[in-house]
């Protein structure tokens, strides 16, 4: 599987962890009636470097407590890439929206809550790796030989 897939939201195209997108034929059934917290802006100029300290810290927070805060509600999480260097936002998908007020990625771009049937369940990354693999949107990708 490639390091990212395209995902469209409000006129913008983002790279997303491909494991998050439901595809029953590929063994990734959709979680129906889930809630997406999209921490991104429709402004086409809204972008931050992935290496920016606030983006690094949001990823650290995800590993330290955000996945735990979501618990069994978690469906999946992916940062949203614009290219190999730029962060356009993040999406957290959960079975309830109860924890979204605590989303660490909302510190960068405020979140919008939407109902969705488009996403599949993905386990959180084991950590502690924060760096991206060949520009893929964290936590997607790997350097393992194909």
């Amino acid at each position: 599987m490639a390091g990212h897939a395209d995902w469209h939201w409000r006129g913008r195209r983002f790279g997303i962890d491909p494991r998050c997108l439901a595809d029953p034929a590929a063994g990734r059934p959709a979680v129906l009636g889930a809630w997406a917290h999209v921490c991104a802006s429709p402004d086409p100029e809204a972008r931050v470097l992935f290496d920016a300290t606030e983006v690094q810290q949001a990823r650290r927070d995800a590993l330290a407590w955000w996945f735990a805060r979501l618990g069994d509600d978690l469906v999946c999480l992916s940062t949203l890439s614009l290219d190999a260097s730029h962060y356009g936002g993040a999406i957290t998908v959960a079975r309830t929206p109860d924890a979204f007020a605590d989303d660490p990625f909302a510190r960068i771009f405020p979140g919008t809550i939407e109902r969705t049937d488009a996403f599949a369940a993905v386990l959180p990354p084991p950590g502690p790796v924060l760096e991206r693999y060949s520009g893929a949107p964290w936590p997607a990708g790997s350097f393992a030989p194909a």
Binding site: A64, P124, G127, P128, Y133, S142, F143, A144
Partner: protein, 167 residues
């Protein structure tokens, strides 16, 4: 000495255990192509484990940018591990063998502790395919790897598995 099945060059068994959130995991899924430090820990109550895991937490800020992973296995329940992990400030995974399913098969029982029946504190440096690069017996605290030894292990494995090591 580690059990004969857990010596350098041998493949570590693919443990199937819940993580600190109770989610089922398989060890083989965790490296994701990166080298991995696998630490067997007695449990949260042991002062030696607290000290060693605080040291691993120091190391995580290097691992987070160096494409290497850390996994801790103990007999603590997942909820206890989650609280211990949060208290340490760890951002790596804990696996819970509260049922002690793998203690016998791995031959890592610490028989001198009849109260907790924990793991012996062994640390393994693993390649992404779970083959063992180095093993450290930590029953005596000075038997555990220093952070420098773990860095050296990760360097050796990375040099071997990264085809562009010398770009």
């Amino acid at each position: 000495m580690p059990p004969s099945s857990l010596t350098p060059g041998k493949r570590f068994p693919d443990l199937d255990l819940p993580d600190h959130e109770g989610r089922p995991r398989r060890l083989a899924d965790l490296p994701g192509g990166d080298p991995l430090v696998l630490c067997f820990s007695r449990g949260w109550w042991c002062p030696k484990e607290q000290r060693f895991l605080r040291a691993l937490v120091e190391l995580q800020s290097e691992f987070e940018v160096a494409y290497a992973r850390i996994v801790v296995v103990s007999v603590d329940e997942p909820g206890v591990q989650a609280a211990f992990r949060a208290g340490l400030g760890a951002r790596f995974l804990f696996l819970s063998d509260a049922e002690r399913r793998w203690l016998g098969p791995l031959e890592l029982e610490e028989t001198t502790d009849t109260t907790h029946a924990p793991y012996q504190p062994y640390v393994f440096s693993l390649r992404p395919d779970l083959s063992i690069h180095a093993a450290y017996a930590g029953y005596w605290s000075f038997g555990r790897p220093t952070l420098e030894e773990l860095r050296t292990d990760m360097r050796a494995i990375s040099r071997d598995i990264r085809p562009d090591w010398e770009l």
